[in-house]
C-alpha cells in the first residue's frame, strides 16, 4: 500500500478510532443494527451526560412519558435522534434545536414490549453521544386500538392545539398537545396517518427548532420544549396526508 492511500485511509477512519464508545449500559440485540442504520460510521460514545428518563415500567404502553436531557453536554447540540429499540416501528423523533432552544425534550410514546430507549445526540464536533435507559412493559402499546378514533367528533378536532408556557428562572417552557390519532399502520387496517413534521419559529419567521415525528409518538402528541427566551412563537405542523396546522403562542 502506497503512502497516500494509507494516509487517506487513516484520515477517513480517524474519527472512528478517536472515540472509545465504552460499554453499553443497557445491552440490547438491536443496538448494532440501528447504530449502523442511523449513525452509520460516525464516531459515537455511550454517554451518561445524555439523560433518557422514563418510568421503570409502562403503566399505559400507549402513553409512556419520555424525557431526553442533553443539557450537560459541552459544545453545541445539532441533532437528537430518539428510538425504542424493540418497537416494531422504533423511531420516535429527530429533533434539531437551534441556538434559542435547549437540548431538552419531553414527549409521550408507544412501546410494544420491554425495551431499551435510546437518544443519540450529535454535537458540533461530529460525535454522537448516546444516552440509554430500559423500560419494562406488559406491552401492546403499538398494536392497541386507537382511543382517539373511538371518540365521537375526533375528525372535527383534528389539528387542534392546546398550549401553554411556563416561566423558569433562566428559560421558558412550552407545552403543547395536538389532537391527532397518529395512526401507525399496525392497527385494524387503518393506514399510517401521523404528524411527521413540526417547526417552531419566532415572530419574524426565523426557524428556532424542527422536529420530525414518527408513529411511535402517542396519539394526541404531547410535547414539551425549553426555550431561552419567552418570545412570541409560531408552530406549524404537517401530517403525512399533507394536512397542515398552525398555532401561535404569545
Amino acid at each position: 500500500m502506497g503512502r497516500v492511500p494509507l494516509l487517506l485511509a487513516m484520515l477517513l477512519c480517524a474519527p472512528a478510532f478517536a472515540v472509545d464508545p465504552g460499554p453499553d449500559p443497557v445491552p440490547s440485540v438491536m443496538w448494532e443494527f440501528y447504530r449502523q442504520q442511523w449513525l452509520m460510521d460516525a464516531p459515537y460514545q455511550f454517554d451518561a451526560r445524555v439523560r433518557v428518563i422514563a418510568p421503570p415500567f409502562a403503566e399505559d404502553a400507549r402513553q409512556v412519558p419520555l424525557q431526553v436531557d442533553a443539557r450537560a453536554l459541552p459544545g453545541t447540540v445539532q441533532r437528537i435522534l430518539v428510538w425504542a429499540e424493540l418497537n416494531p416501528l422504533p423511531k420516535i423523533v429527530d429533533f434539531q434545536p437551534g441556538p434559542q432552544v435547549l437540548p431538552w425534550l419531553a414527549v409521550r410514546i408507544r412501546i410494544e414490549q420491554a425495551t431499551a430507549l435510546r437518544a443519540a445526540v450529535l454535537t458540533d464536533d461530529g460525535i454522537w453521544h448516546v444516552g440509554s435507559t430500559l423500560i419494562d412493559a406488559a406491552g401492546g402499546g403499538c398494536t392497541a386500538p386507537s382511543v382517539v378514533r373511538s371518540e365521537a367528533g375526533w375528525e372535527e378536532r383534528l389539528g387542534q392545539v392546546l398550549g401553554a408556557r411556563f416561566p423558569r428562572e433562566d428559560f421558558s417552557r412550552l407545552r403543547l398537545e395536538v389532537s391527532h390519532p397518529m395512526d401507525n399502520g399496525l392497527v385494524g387496517g387503518v393506514p399510517e396517518f401521523y404528524i411527521e413534521h413540526a417547526e417552531l419559529r419566532d415572530a419574524q419567521g426565523q426557524v428556532l427548532a424542527t422536529l420530525e415525528l414518527f408513529p411511535a409518538v402517542s396519539e394526541n402528541p404531547n410535547l414539551s420544549f425549553d426555550l431561552r427566551r419567552a418570545e412570541a412563537l409560531r408552530l406549524s405542523l404537517r401530517d403525512n396526508n399533507g394536512n397542515t396546522f398552525d398555532a401561535a403562542i404569545d
Partner: protein
C-alpha cells in the same frame, strides 16, 4: 413404573403445596370475620393475597363480601368459612369489579352473587383483560380462574340477613362503581377500595380525586365502629380515614401544582414522597401509575387553544 410415578408425585408435591393461601379468618365483631391480605404488590409469592375479604355469619346463612383474586382463593375462603360455621353461604356481595376482589367468584357458583349494575358492566367489559394481567403478575395461582359475572344487581338501601341489616351504599370514587356495606347491627363498615390503609391507593378507574374525597367524607360520617378497608389493617378508630384524606389531598395538590408549573410526567413521578407517608407501602409505585391515569386531566386544565 409405579415407583417412578411415586417419585414424580413426591417431587411435584412441594410446588403444589406452595400454592396455598392458608387463609385464617379473624373475628373483628360478633358474627363478623375478615381475611386480611398483605399490603404488598401482586407477586408470584403471594398469589394476589393482598386484599381484604370477609364474611358475616347470620341466622339466615353466611354473607360473603368479595371473593378474592382467583378461583383457588375463593375455594380457600369457602373452606375456611366451613371451619367457622355449618351454615351455608347464601349471598355474595362484590364491592367493585377489580380482579383482586372479584375473580374468586367461580368458587361461589351455587350462590347468588350481587353487585352494583355498573360493576357488572365494568367486569363484563374489562374483566378478561384484568384477569389476563393478573395471570401475568402471579402466575400459576390463577389456574382455572375465569371471570364470573354477578347475577344480581344491587340498589342502594338496606338488605336484611337474619338479625343483620346491611346498609348498601353506592359510590364511584375508586373504580367507577364502588359498594360500601355498613352492618347496622355491629357497626362494621366494609369500605371496599374506597378506603386504603397503610397501602397506597390505586387510581386506574377513578373518575377523579375530588369526587373520591367527597365520597370518603360521606362514608366517614356514617355510624361505623370497625373499619375494614379494601387493603390494609382493620381499624377501630378514624386513622384510615384521616390518612386516606390526607393522602388524597396531597396527590390532588401535587398533580394540580405540577401542571400549573408545567412539569412533564417524569418530573412529577420524581417528586419526593412526604415523610409522613413513610409507613404507607407502594407510594412511589402507585404515584407512577396515578400520574399516568390522572395527570392528563390536570395538564389540559392549564392549557388553552392556540391553533389558528
Amino acid at each position: 413404573m409405579r415407583a417412578l410415578l411415586l417419585v414424580m408425585l413426591v417431587v411435584s408435591l412441594p410446588s403444589q403445596a406452595d400454592l396455598e393461601y392458608r387463609l385464617a379468618p379473624r373475628q373483628v365483631a360478633p358474627d363478623t370475620y375478615v381475611f386480611e391480605g398483605s399490603t404488598e404488590n401482586f407477586s408470584r409469592a403471594n398469589g394476589g393475597n393482598i386484599v381484604n375479604t370477609g364474611f358475616i355469619v347470620t341466622e339466615a346463612g353466611v354473607v360473603v363480601i368479595d371473593t378474592g383474586p382467583s378461583l383457588r382463593y375463593g375455594r380457600a375462603m369457602r373452606q375456611a368459612i366451613g371451619l367457622v360455621t355449618d351454615k351455608p353461604v347464601v349471598q355474595v356481595l362484590l364491592t367493585h369489579h377489580h380482579p383482586d376482589h372479584a375473580l374468586g367468584s367461580q368458587a361461589f357458583a351455587d350462590v347468588p352473587i350481587a353487585a352494583l349494575s355498573a360493576t357488572r358492566e365494568l367486569l363484563g367489559e374489562e374483566g378478561d383483560a384484568l384477569a389476563e394481567n393478573l395471570y401475568r403478575l402471579v402466575g400459576d395461582w390463577m389456574r382455572g380462574t375465569q371471570v364470573r359475572l354477578p347475577d344480581q344487581a344491587l340498589e342502594p338501601g338496606v338488605r336484611v340477613f337474619g338479625s343483620h341489616s346491611l346498609r348498601l351504599m353506592a359510590f364511584s370514587g375508586h373504580s367507577g362503581a364502588d359498594l360500601a356495606i355498613l352492618d347496622e347491627r355491629t357497626g362494621v363498615l366494609f369500605a371496599g377500595d374506597l378506603l386504603f390503609y397503610q397501602r397506597a391507593l390505586t387510581t386506574p378507574h377513578s373518575p377523579g380525586l375530588a369526587v373520591w374525597r367527597k365520597q370518603l367524607e360521606q362514608l366517614q360520617a356514617t355510624p361505623w365502629q370497625v373499619l375494614v378497608a379494601g387493603h390494609g389493617p382493620v381499624a377501630r378508630d378514624a386513622k384510615p380515614f384521616v390518612q386516606m384524606l390526607d393522602y388524597l389531598g396531597w396527590l390532588d395538590g401535587l398533580l394540580r401544582e405540577s401542571a400549573q408549573a408545567g412539569l412533564e410526567m417524569n418530573e412529577v413521578i420524581a417528586t419526593p414522597i412526604p415523610p409522613r407517608f413513610a409507613a404507607i407501602s407502594l407510594t412511589r409505585y402507585e404515584l407512577i401509575r396515578s400520574v399516568s391515569h390522572l395527570y392528563p386531566q390536570y395538564e389540559q386544565a392549564v392549557m388553552a387553544r392556540v391553533d389558528r
